[in-house]
Subunit: 187 residues, 4 copies
């Protein structure tokens, strides 16, 4: 098993500028003390609604660019809020596009999920629905430790893109280390 | 219990012009021999991706118009394909917008779901995820008979918006009659 | 709409004597200031594992007795912990038996769910899996307000079968009042 | 990567003697042309209902024996019907017991799922609920190709424990080969 530097890409499920999940996503490179490069994918907001008629005219550049970045990565880290007990529609729409590509970018790809909510249930339901989607995509979903951050609004700082709560920061770091190990085990 | 004419609105989860689910949705007024008016809601494709920053500038007209139509209706009929073992992102996005309105259009509203797939599993997973969303929205989800149409591509005609398979047509009609009864029971 | 006294039966998903959910279940008659009779069903632990060979020799008395009590009731209140992100096996086993009876006891029956957990996520996943089971059984699952009690071990007293946390007690009472209203609306 | 002989154990979710899933489970050693030993675990029907009071007196021998066999295996193959849109209660009960052992037998263990139903939807919902349970147990759930056998009653022979439908037999063999590869990749 080689110990070469890994490449992870981060897929964000929220669009608003002051998003707590956006801050969490952008905090990851600094939080992880890994021999890994962690970069943000493009915004799911840049993709049109999935429509097979649009697909017939050619995949949008936002879709093919994201697919290329995922294919070139060793793993994908999804960071997303929960909307209405499920996956945000705009994030799900990105999966709907990516799943249609002939050269499936998620097949065999390790995927980790991080999320939270202002309340205590912490986005658990989003994660379970997303895991079901990942089964169809034939991704290899990472399990534990699961990151579900309750009261996320009090634990990240959107101005500095940092996790301000130390317990949370250490837990996220432990998650990333375990995901890194999982990815190396699967190679 | 009054026997007045009911108003149902149909929410379609597919955008392409030749959609089998579009044909199914548009077939419903003719299939149902009900004392009910059944009309299509606007397209979920007309709504932007949900973004709290956009919301802060005011709800899009496509959202408020759909909400008004739902509030004025006695029940909502969702007709949708399944994408990647879950709800199509663009349909979920419509729920994400509608759920943010102060005067919640789905609260206490009876909702029925119809779907299918070209394969045999017939969209069951989309329906279960959508039911979980409806719990959050406090809608009253109708149960049986459930409509999950396998090989839907062989059972509807997109040129004429009709259900060509007689067994399917009768089953859909039975579903609509039972939903109509359920709605009247709840009033 | 008549204002007659309703009959509710409580189905408990935990077997141990000192169960927090047992205390919650037994607290309900005192908590609810309803014109309703609330009684406990028999223990799910009294039923054998579901086995079609056993069924062929006749339904166990524990199954038929519970079915009769459910059929005679206006609504069923399920109170259960979550085991391993889903429904406790022994509770699910009771549904497996009850679902096989020719005169389906859950068909059209209003069902409410209460649960919690020592942690913060509060059994949400048990409730969603149970709701999916209830769709198959054609029950009418009540939605809001949902009762998911975090840190349940600090909020009920198993010696006296009472809810000791006032906020929780009021919330449970509000749930029962709303369920009572829902049941009356459906009659 | 060594090419040593692997050991797989099969967990069956049905109790009746003439079970189609029992025949499927027992057919696996002959179907798989693998360098692997495939043996049946004990019956989930031998375990009592999970009860923390019983656990306090010591884990039943049926539980510890199954746990030992799982720990000694390279992978677990679950073969189960779907009951009421979810996992059979008696199978779930086995997971409830196994999850309580201090030396968690499923942690990091590769798990594959096979199932079917007499109807077309083929147990898909059982598989998704079971996958959620496996997340909690920190198992590594195998994904594709997924085995969901519609009309299973016409495709296996319970007298000879064979898969009689050739397409199904080849598909199950392909599933087992891919699972074997997945297990070797993870070691």
């Amino acid at each position: 098993m080689t110990q070469s530097r890994l490449k992870f890409v981060v897929l964000l499920g929220s669009l608003r500028r002051g998003s707590f999940h956006g801050a969490l996503a952008r905090s990851l490179p600094a939080v992880a003390s890994l021999d890994a490069e962690i970069t943000m994918l493009g915004s799911v907001g840049d993709m049109p609604h999935y429509d097979a008629d649009v697909q017939a005219e050619g995949f949008p550049a936002s879709v093919t660019a994201m697919a290329s970045a995922i294919k070139a990565a060793d793993g994908v880290i999804v960071v997303s809020p929960e909307y209405n007990y499920s996956i945000p529609g705009s994030l799900k729409n990105a999966f709907d596009w990516l799943s249609r590509l002939p050269d499936a970018p998620f097949a065999g790809k390790p995927v980790s999920i991080l999320g939270g909510s202002p309340g205590p249930i912490a986005g658990a339901r989003m994660q379970h629905h997303l895991r079901q989607v990942l089964v169809f995509l034939d991704a290899v979903a990472f399990t534990k430790p699961e990151v579900m951050i309750g009261s996320i609004n009090t634990k990240v700082d959107v101005a500095t893109n940092t996790i301000t709560d130390e317990t949370t920061r250490e837990f996220v770091a432990a998650h990333l280390r375990a995901f890194d190990e999982f990815v190396r085990r699967l190679r």
